[in-house]
Amino acid sequence: MANIIISNLEAIPGVTIVKHLGMVQGNTVRAKHMGRDIMAGLKNIVGGELRGYTELLTDSREECTQRMIEHAQALGANAVLNVRFSTSSVSAGASELFVYGTAVVVQ
């Protein structure tokens, strides 16, 4: 984890790409939490940020990024470039987070 470079640029400073290993991806589907939902229901009256959900989505993104990194490391990559994120709602109350990029070997 520590020594893999993640970037959404095509090239990163200080290194050269020596080998392309193809696309890598990670995804996770998360459903909302009942307890958080009650708070969110109250927040829906006054409006504003739903902190519980912000944290939930941050955690979920970390998880899918971790999966992408595992995939990249299995291919022998030490960097993932041109990373994109995408979110879609798959059913009522659940969201899918998806991250993808190109695994490369850099020097």
Binding site: G47, Y53, A92
Partner: protein, 144 residues
């Protein structure tokens, strides 16, 4: 009758609290944007010259509309036209997400964020609700 009183109560609570919360949020946005104005952000993919290292940075926010504005938007939906309440809601969410990304870049000591992408999605939407919660996610590569 009771239902109508509850409706009016929710409407006024939403109006009062939603309004002050929005005003306060805009004030804090302007203040923080001023503080972080030294970080340039671009949407170009190409790596600019003269930087030594890079770091992935991101910021996100999940935001919800207040009850008064939801009703106002529903009424507007009958006649069509610009829905001001959602316009300002999304503006707040985008500015907040970009600011959080900038704050993260500032901690890294970066002076620029390249290839910034903004993604908007409605998350955890209920079948009965018109709009659940909106999420804005901003990400990019911080350079120093």
């Amino acid at each position: 009758m009771v239902g109508f009183i509850i409706f009016l109560a929710l409407l006024s609570v939403g109006f009062v609290f939603g309004r002050t919360a929005e005003a306060n949020h805009f004030k804090s946005l302007i203040e923080r944007e001023e503080k972080l104005s030294h970080i340039t952000i671009t949407t170009t993919k190409k790596l600019p010259d003269g930087y030594r290292s890079s770091e992935f940075v991101a910021g996100n926010v999940v935001i919800s509309i207040d009850y008064f504005k939801r009703i106002a938007a529903a009424l507007r939906g009958l006649v069509g036209g610009r829905i001001a309440s959602y316009t300002s809601l999304l503006e707040r969410a985008r500015r907040e997400a970009v600011l959080r990304m900038k704050e993260e870049a500032d901690k890294e000591g970066a002076s620029m964020i390249a290839n910034v992408r903004l993604e908007t999605s409605s998350v955890f939407q209920d079948a009965k609700q018109l709009v659940g919660s909106l999420e804005v996610y901003a990400y990019g590569t911080a350079l120093k």
